[in-house]
């Protein structure tokens, strides 16, 4: 497309955690000038240990927010918060249960101590209770530190498949057994792009440009030259190492976190009504969500499923 | 010039006729009951006239300090009233430091030096350190503590602390001096000297002094009038008047009149002790 004549639109994108490879696509679009090409002057605002940036979206301090999974998006409908999901970068939630190598079957986890965060307990764990008969009694708090899990051989813990297993492998010196919840029926999208309803209505073009550029960023991050993006990530978060980044990217590819299923036909960012409904029904059954919520308000398919950037994927 | 002219009279329980001028302040039927039920004063009638040196004498715990605090306005009577001369009230509005108070305890600020403690009332009136220094040093000189100007209260002996307190009360040259046993902790020689110094101050400043003491001798030597309080609940049980023009010096102290007055006062005190 021809370069737009007008000045680039200033937008702020808030992530939900410190800079890491899980945000790679966005950094890629920033680093390689894709956002600029789409007439956007993007500021990436990394989140902190607490999901702080969330409330900044409805009050207009940021324009786009990297949502965790669909549960929170649906909660927004319940709480009448005027935001919605406009794209889903992860087809699978990277949420994983990490167990010691002696565990081979998902069912075995029911007898283990599980380190689960409070947020996890309020969300997917309720589904585990309902669908697999897990119990709250076996839970101990997960504080984003794997040491208790490593010490207690009879335990498992939550994590992101792209992150925690790395630390466990490095420090524990063993390859843990991983159970990706998505593969066991927790079929939410993750790492979504959320924005205000008002923006969707008044400036759909801006939203479209941001979504498209981000999707292209993700294709390039996964399949192209991601050196500049990684440098940027490391600059924002000096703690991160090349090995960690490599680990994350490998896991995202291996498990098809970003690019799998519907993306083959619809492109990265894909969402479908069917999957949304299926997820909602499961959550209602698990009593994580109440019945009767108009989930259609929580997302829109207006900006995705257009196959943008598909040509960047390896054949 | 020695004048024997002494004009003493014991007017038991009778307030003295007020021929010689309106009183500076007058307590009428004053009573003071504390929260714990103790009645310190009951039916106290007394007046203080301008330029007088009045001593209060009475058994321990009879309410002398309480009476002094009432006069100073530090506590309110539970009964009766306290009236000030109108001129005085007006003047009070204009001047600060109209009252100097020597508490029964030294009541020094532990965080300030001797100099700082004596400076306090002047400082509160806005007189700076430099400006106040001559007056402060004069007061310290008077009580013999000039050498200790930089010492802190905890480094002083009991009598020295009390002397700082006296210096502090004198430094502002107040028009009314209320002193609660100021010399009790002092040796006799220092005490005699300070007695004379106080009389000197009284005469020079023409101020009014209300003075609590336990020493009959001191009260006779110093005062122009002595009020003897009876035991709790306190009130005036006897009054003695001494000619204020009588020069006070060693000759007076050894005179038979002095001895007679002392005996009389002692007797009044003894009678006050077992008043009903």
């Amino acid at each position: 497309p021809t370069a737009p004549a007008r000045a680039a639109d200033k937008v702020t994108f808030g992530t939900n955690w410190v800079a890491q490879a899980e945000h790679g696509g966005f950094y890629q679009a920033f680093a390689d000038g894709t956002y600029a090409k789409y007439g956007l002057n993007v500021t990436i605002l990394p989140g902190g240990p607490q999901a702080n940036n969330r409330l900044l979206l409805p009050v207009g301090k940021i324009d786009f927010y990297m949502g965790g999974n669909m549960l929170q998006a649906i909660s927004s409908v319940v709480e009448e918060i005027p935001t919605q999901v406009v794209a889903a970068m992860f087809q699978k939630d990277p949420q994983v249960l990490i167990a010691h190598p002696d565990v081979t079957a998902f069912e075995q986890l029911k007898t283990r101590t599980l380190f689960i965060s409070k947020e996890g307990l309020a969300s997917y764990y309720q589904w585990l209770v309902d669908a697999y008969g897990f119990s709250e009694d076996q839970v101990k708090p997960y504080t984003f530190n794997a040491a208790p899990f490593l010490v207690d051989k009879n335990s498992a813990m939550q994590g992101y498949i792209t992150s925690e297993p790395y630390a466990v492998e490095q420090q524990g010196g063993f390859k843990p057994t991983l159970f990706l919840l998505a593969d066991y029926g927790f079929q939410t999208y993750a790492t979504t792009i959320e924005t205000r309803n008002e923006l969707v209505k008044q400036n759909p073009d801006l939203v479209q440009r941001f979504v498209d550029a981000s999707i292209i960023g993700w294709y390039n991050y996964l399949y192209g030259d991601n050196a500049k993006a990684n440098a940027l990530i490391k600059q924002d978060n000096p703690e991160i190492t090349d090995a960690m980044i490599a680990f994350t990217i490998a896991r995202m590819k291996e498990y098809g976190i970003v690019d799998s299923g519907d993306t083959a036909s619809l492109g990265i960012g894909a969402m479908t009504d069917a999957r949304m409904k299926g997820f909602y029904d499961t959550m209602v059954k698990a009593k994580v969500l109440e019945p009767g919520i108009d989930i259609a308000k929580s997302y829109t398919l207006q900006f995705v499923n257009k196959g943008v950037g598909k040509e960047l994927a390896p054949k | 010039m020695r004048v024997p002219g002494m004009n003493a009279a014991t007017l038991d329980l009778l307030p003295r006729a007020e021929a010689d001028g309106a009183p500076l302040l007058r307590l009428s039927g004053v009573g003071k009951r504390f929260a714990n039920g103790v009645t310190a004063l009951e039916g106290l009638d007394m007046a203080v006239r301008e330029g007088e040196f009045v001593s209060l004498l009475g058994p321990s715990g009879c309410g002398k300090s309480t009476a002094l605090r009432l006069i100073a306005g530090l506590t309110e009577p539970s009964e009766g009233r306290l009236d000030w001369d109108e001129d005085e009230t007006a003047r009070r509005g204009r001047e600060r430091h109209s009252i100097g108070f020597v508490f029964q305890d030294p009541t020094l600020m532990p965080w300030a030096s001797v100099f700082g403690n004596v400076h306090l009332p002047l400082k509160l009136a806005g007189v700076g350190r430099r400006e106040a220094e001559p007056a402060i040093m004069e007061a310290l000189e008077l009580v013999g503590l000039a050498a200790f100007r930089d010492a802190y209260p905890r480094e002083l002996s009991g009598g020295m602390k009390m002397r700082v307190s006296i210096a502090r009360a004198l430094v502002t040259k107040p028009r009314l001096l209320l002193m609660d046993e100021p010399f009790a902790a002092l040796d006799e020689i220092t005490r005699f000297k300070l007695n004379n110094d106080l009389l000197d101050v009284w005469r020079r400043l023409r101020c009014t002094i209300v003075f609590v003491t336990h020493s009959v001798f001191e009260s006779v030597y110093l005062s122009s009038r002595i009020l003897v309080f009876r035991a709790r609940p306190g009130r005036v049980s006897a009054e003695l008047v001494i000619d204020p023009n009588q020069p006070r010096d060693e000759t007076f102290r050894t005179s038979p009149e002095y001895a007679g007055l002392c005996r009389e006062t002692s007797l009044a005190l003894a009678r006050a002790m077992d008043a009903p």
């Binding site: 999901a51 709480e79 009448e80 040491a147 | 504390f34």
Partner: protein
């Protein structure tokens, strides 16, 4: 203590004014509930969810009270130890300071390895609350009237007697001051401890309700939980102030008010 009704009404008046101001801010700026819920809405939520919230409050309150008791015991005991000799104080105070400044959130996982969840929460709350008691009591124990100390020495008082009958009464106003600070801190400590190391799900304290409400963006409920915490804090403070008044009213300036 004056018994004028004003004395008791005014604090409520001020609180009421504050709540009205809050309601006005919400109304005038047309703030949505997820930014700042109106007080009415918070109250509504509080009443609606009372079963869950009060149950959680009891859990947190229990932790707070136990932590406070332990903080009092620990802080006072350490203060006594420190008072025994200047050198002990000098040697051990750095360790107490280290304990005080250790961020509970950082060490909670370590505690979870060796302690049960409840114990870990208690330790967190304790760490936050013990220091004011320790510090103030130490200060109090050192502020003994030197003359009285001499008197005790002369009367052949044992170390223990001097402690119990001289140093402790002297330290009492300071200790009670430390206690009033520790009361609130024990409560925050309990909440932070719950966040850092506490169990979640059913039967858990207010911290979980807060995290859960935040996760679900149910801000009115978050405020209802905060309201309960504030109420608990005020109750604890009022209780400790009353205790202080009962103990000191006969002799200490701070509780005597001006003399008549």
């Amino acid at each position: 203590m004056s018994t004028s009704p004003l004395r008791w009404l005014l604090p409520f008046g001020v609180l009421a004014a504050l709540i009205l101001a809050w309601a006005a801010v919400v109304k005038l700026n047309n703030l949505p509930p997820y930014v700042l819920p109106a007080p009415g809405k918070v109250l509504e939520t509080l009443i609606e969810d009372r079963a869950v919230l009060f149950a959680s409050m009891l859990v947190t309150l229990k932790t707070t009270v136990i932590a406070l008791l332990l903080a009092v015991a620990g802080g006072a005991a350490l203060a006594l130890l420190f008072a025994s000799a200047r050198i002990v104080e000098f040697s051990l105070f750095p360790i107490a300071v280290i304990l005080q400044v250790t961020p509970v959130i950082a060490v909670a996982p370590l505690m979870l390895i060796y302690l049960s969840t409840d114990a870990a929460v208690l330790v967190c709350a304790w760490i936050v609350a013990f220091f004011p008691v320790l510090s103030n009591t130490t200060l109090g124990l050192k502020s003994v009237d030197p003359n009285l100390r001499d008197l005790f020495r002369l009367s052949g008082a044992t170390r223990w007697q001097t402690l119990a009958q001289l140093k402790l009464p002297t330290a009492l106003p300071y200790f009670l001051g430390g206690l009033r600070i520790a009361g609130g801190l024990a409560l925050i400590g309990a909440v932070v401890g719950e966040i850092a190391a506490g169990s979640a799900g059913q039967g858990s304290g207010l911290a979980f309700r807060i995290v859960e409400s935040a996760y679900r963006l149910n801000i009115p409920r978050l405020f209802a939980a905060l309201l309960l915490i504030s109420l608990t804090g005020i109750l604890i403070y009022a209780g400790l102030s009353l205790l202080s008044w009962l103990v000191l009213r006969r002799w200490h300036e701070s509780e005597l008010g001006g003399r008549a």
